[in-house]
Symmetry: C2
Subunit: 754 residues, 2 copies
């Protein structure tokens, strides 16, 4: 007989925020005896984590530039594959062929009133050894900018997000035929040129304002860690929220002989040129603007009065790229499971960078390497995992999550069948544990956060995070703590390699890192270097080691659990919160629209406008109708019933002490991990069929930022009331299907209890 | 028979926010016939207002520096007195002798790490003609700084207000033995050195950060109107919220032979040196600071990372002053009333400036001159006012409201007996009507705001203000509009010449100006010039003319009303709002204190603190007891009853058509205007007996900023619970006395109705 305690301890043990450090509740999904074994295994895992190994790997991986296509990237991939093999893994390099542009020509000139040619370089810094490798590095550029040579008046659009274009309209201005300058921030960078293009701009300049990550935040590099006058944020501007991955092999793996569409036919490629610059390069351009003074919230920290323009500044932007099919080297290592070899748990981090990439991605990659080393050692010492564990070092993440997406597309059928969960990291630094993921894993992850100690504070990383939320968390996060959630997971949008797994295949995922006390970031700059990281990011690799313990535990527990620790209640509770948000969103928009329209009718905007400034008459908006939320409310009610019924059945199963075979366990486990598959729908979201998950998606106009219940939420935000009602019905059906799936789980659990 | 309609029209006519522009409800306090005459008189007044006269007077008054003691000041006073005489007034210059320091020596040096000597000058600007008069002007300094020669480490304290010292304590820092640098803003300037001194600083540097009034707000002078790199805010640092006026003649007029105390014995003088500088001068000092990075909200707009220090910057500040008894020339003009010569209405503005003072104070002074000219003309044409009108051009306002305060102290007995109300202005610019004052005058002022047209917008200045409040007003202001208040008056703190009248004698007061669209201020700088004002402040003097119409109406209506338009309901309603605020303040502090203490006990602050930074353990605060507010609630209930009873009696009196003699009217009027006297109490506020008003006072630690119900509110803010309960009782007695006074008014009105 095998008494499975874990499955019912969720409410009793996991939720309790009062768990003292050092408490060791039985891990969810384990029987009593095997739970004790697992905890002993984890203690042994912790003992073997050695920060020096992270340091050594970081030195190796950051020694040479290792962007997609760089010689150093292939070398690094081979070194990692070799290491995996030495630790007992089957390891291979799986290569894809990616359309990847690199710059041939970059020219940015202020033509008038005062001519200036942008330097577009990040000079070497004394004390930063790899900053001298500019000859072998990718210079500052935005990958998947179009080629182009455009000249026009300059206009400043703040962050270039939808709200900024609304403000421009109020100012009576537009970007048509102009070159836009936007500061980073407020959205994923690719949204900025996408919107500029939609509004008719000729080209786009992106720059890092010191207000956002420079001297206004803290001392600049090398005195402090923050972005300095020359530091540039590189990055992709492929249309990530439309579809990540290789732009010319939509939906299929970019193998050597894959069918490719033309660049012109690729929906995810821009038609206009875009270039990122430092604030030293941006200052002459911004100074040369006149016209309206920028609205308060548009002003950065440069010592000027920010003007919107357009003009009198005239600008030339000329960009040309080599568009080359470039090999991407995914490192895939496998340790076959002893009991359930066809149930897989995957752990990944990308290895490609823009330049040295010490923080992004190497700091996460080196934690993964240390985890894999120890898991391999433990297996050889007789603790082979029950399920198969896969480790991935992805290439081509920076250009658009391409290495992982192509791999996911190539192996979709097998992953759909076998992959239980995917655990991602992508850089880490000093500070607090930040985790997002599938809420079916929320209680599971809460236990893990409560099992790993903060390296400085004498409390667990879960406890420290809860104390932070008590101080500065949102009302929703505080409510979650009050409800006994040990670690309120955030929802996943996009921006790293979990996207293909979660949003394209419906595989439950986690994304984990530490941060918040890293003392300044050189995100996507040549100064994101080893020398920077060990001074500011994570001196001594203490938080890197803590990350290895968190991610290592998550991997091992998922690999070894008798019953997979997927939770119905946490999911149901979270969906209820999201539903409250979207109904509240519609209500607020209705109220604000009515108020706005009343103000227009009362002449308030016209009366209050400064008579010395241009005034564009404000117009009434279409009123917000009441949406047919009843279908969703009913589906949620059904979900609640089904979730509670499964909880009850699982409790009886655990307490009943039934004798469950491995086959029966596998049957129940298969239903459990396939619950997340029910959240997807083959047709996908409106206008972006690649994204099929209907609980989590990246925002179409925010990029990385998540939109939960995306079909409904974005239809409301876009004031598309008809689509909102359609999406409400679609989502109601999905929730009903999930409830039905839970009912199957309940039936099986009841059968097994008999 | 004389039917007085005005007195009951408050609720019916005045409150209505729907009053269309051009509506002319009978003015409050006038009989029907006389109301019509009054409106005709005001129409004639408006016709005679000529912006060219404001322009002419501004050119005359700003041609020479006219600070206290400057030759140009005496000339200006004489020219104004002569003009008043030419318009039919008895006019005199009443001279007081004021202790006034002017700089002999000003030295500010950064000694290390990089030596720098502050320039301390405002250079001439092309196109600003008076900026070339530095040889005849007062240089940048803070009047009533102590003499001193101090050297010490520098420390940045943000705005140097109480919350900043709490933050310093959390950082484990203090200012003892150091020289403090603080930016302007967040309080009246005198609070900054007062607090620095209380905390043991050796000296203080004040500077204007471009975040607050420089390039971050708009283009700097001369391109735009905002403060530039060299512009310095001069100003007094006498202890204004303790006691305004001459520092060595407390409580009595500073006549030539007045008894004077020594400087050492004056409580309102600082013991440490303080100097204001430009941001160009401040930058090397701020750059030389290291230590903790300044908290987010402390960061200004200079292109540096703001550090707190202390040090490594070491600073020397050496200041020496001539402390001279200086003649101050108050210009007082009188037009005797025809019917009630011993009931006075007074209208004032100061004429002294720091340099040219085009905006402050001349822009208000020239409106007053135009009003007086027209009132004189109208009197000669047969419309002599019923009451006596006094016009004042105050000297020595800038050093500490001294000209008006000495005059008030000198004439206290007569003013107490005769002065019905005081109407102040002190500079104006383009924009919205801003008015503060005694809430007994709120309905009266609402009618006036509804009678004057905005020069650009085709609506009244009252209507434009209401539309602004609908858009960006506080919840309290919106509620007031909902309740039908046409112009919600703000409460008066300090910062101009109404202070002596209102807060020392209990004379109902108004303070009026336009503003908000002035395009940048050169407050207390040499660049507050005619050339600046006519480009940015009020081109064409259109809002100056509107101000003359508002203040002229207020003066004439108060001078001519049959029954003085003091209102009991508006006062009672306002006190109820303030009482809500102070009980809410105590409740919030109780809640926040409990929350804070719980966080301390839970170790939240310690757990969340960055381990790489110094952490000062947070300690529990004394819990906030429940205060004995019942006495105040009961007094308010009584006030409500008495106020309603008077309203009823006044209505009956008006409708009854009783035949009321001038003597009877005078008796009722005397009770009406003396209602404000009941708000004062001879003992004054704790620790500052000069301030005797218990509804309105400047904040002891905010300076200009008002504290309503100050005895109670400040005791709570200072966590002095015993004093809070004492002040609750005192205020309850005052409200009860006011209710009793209203009862007397009711009895008289009932007697007259019989």
């Amino acid at each position: 007989m095998k008494k499975i305690t874990g499955i019912i301890t969720i409410a009793v043990m996991c939720g309790g925020v009062a768990l003292a450090a050092g408490d060791s509740p039985a891990p969810l999904g384990f029987s009593e005896q095997e739970g004790a074994d697992q905890l002993a295994l984890e203690a042994e895992f912790d003992r073997r984590v050695n920060p020096d190994n992270l340091d050594m790997w970081m030195q190796r991986l950051t020694a040479e530039p290792h962007h997609l296509g760089a010689p150093g990237t292939k070398t690094a991939a081979e070194a990692m594959a070799e290491a995996f093999r030495s630790w007992g893994y089957e390891a291979e390099i799986e290569t894809f062929h990616i359309l990847f542009p690199t710059p041939k020509e970059r020219v940015l000139q202020l033509l008038s009133p005062e001519p200036y040619t942008a330097a577009l370089v990040e000079p070497a810094i004394e004390g930063d050894r790899t900053s001298e490798q500019a000859d072998r590095s990718l210079p500052p550029y935005n990958a998947y900018s179009a080629d182009g040579d455009v000249t026009g008046e300059l206009i400043y659009v703040n962050q270039g997000i939808p709200a900024d274009y609304e403000e421009l309209e109020r100012l009576g201005l537009d970007v048509k035929g102009k070159i836009v300058i936007a500061r980073y921030g407020g959205s994923w960078r690719g949204i900025k040129p996408k919107l500029a293009q939609e509004h008719g701009a000729l080209g786009v300049i992106l720059y890092s304002d010191p207000a956002d990550d420079g001297y206004a935040q803290g001392d600049a590099y090398p005195k402090g860690g923050h972005r300095n006058q020359d530091s540039v944020q590189r990055g992709s501007v492929i249309d990530l929220p439309l579809r990540p991955g290789d732009p010319v092999t939509p939906g299929v793996g970019a193998t050597e002989n894959a069918k490719r569409i033309s660049r012109e036919d690729s929906e995810s490629l821009l038609k206009i040129p875009v270039l990122p610059i430092s604030y030293n390069d941006a200052l002459p351009f911004l100074k040369a603007l006149d016209g309206a003074v920028a609205p308060d919230s548009w002003r950065g920290a440069l010592p000027i009065t920010y003007h919107v323009g357009p003009g009198p500044a005239r600008v030339r932007l000329k960009l040309a790229f080599d568009w080359t099919l470039t090999p991407a080297y995914n490192v895939i290592a496998k340790l076959e499971g002893e009991t359930y070899p066809d149930e897989w748990v995957m752990r990944g981090n990308h290895h490609d960078a823009w330049v040295s990439g010490a923080a992004d991605p190497v700091s996460g990659m080196v934690a993964l390497m240390e985890e894999a080393r120890i898991v391999g050692e433990l297996a050889r010492a007789g603790n082979r995992p029950a399920r198969t564990i896969l480790y991935a070092g992805w290439d081509a993440e920076e250009p658009g999550l391409i290495g992982s997406v192509e791999w996911v597309e190539q192996h979709a059928r097998e992953l759909d069948a076998k992959l239980v969960a995917y655990i991602n990291t992508d850089g880490t630094s000093r500070g607090f544990l930040n985790a997002g993921g599938s809420h079916t894993l929320e209680p599971f992850f809460g236990q893990i956060a409560n099992a790993v100690m903060d390296p400085h504070k004498g409390i667990t990383v879960g406890e420290r995070r809860r104390k932070l939320l008590r101080l500065i968390g949102s009302e929703e996060q505080k409510k979650a703590l009050d409800a006994g959630i040990a670690y309120p997971l955030s929802a996943l949008g996009s921006g790293s390699d979990y996207s293909g797994f979660l949003q394209h295949l419906g595989i439950a995922s986690l994304n984990i890192g530490f941060g918040g006390e890293g003392g300044g970031s050189q995100y996507h700059s040549a100064y994101d270097s080893y020398d920077h990281y060990v001074r500011f990011g994570d001196p001594g690799f203490l938080y890197g080691a803590a990350l290895a313990k968190v991610a290592g535990r998550a991997t091992l527990r998922l690999a070894n659990a008798d019953i997979l620790p997927f939770d119905t209640e946490a999911f149901t509770r979270t969906v209820a919160v999201y539903l409250d948000q979207v109904t509240g969103l519609a209500d607020n928009m209705r109220k604000e629209t009515a108020e706005h329209n009343e103000r227009v009718r009362d002449g308030i905007y016209a009366a209050v406008a400064d008579p010395s400034e241009a005034y564009v008459p404000r117009i009434e908006k279409d009123p917000v109708p009441h949406l047919a939320f009843a279908a969703l409310e009913n589906a949620l009610a059904k979900l609640r019933v089904s979730s509670a019924a499964f909880d009850e059945a699982a409790k009886n199963l655990a307490e009943g002490g039934a004798n469950i075979s491995k086959r029966q366990q596998a049957e129940l486990n298969r239903l459990l991990y396939r619950m997340e598959r029910k959240m997807i729908r083959a047709e996908g979201l409106p206008r972006r069929p690649w994204f099929v998950h209907h609980i989590y998606a990246p925002g179409f106009y925010t990029g990385y930022g998540v939109k939960t219940l995306p079909g409904v939420r974005e239809a409301i935000e876009q004031r598309n009331w008809q689509e909102a009602n359609q999406q409400i019905d679609i989502l109601a059906n999905i929730l009903t299907d999930i409830a039905t799936h839970m009912d199957q789980m309940t039936t099986l659990a009841e059968d097994l209890s008999d």
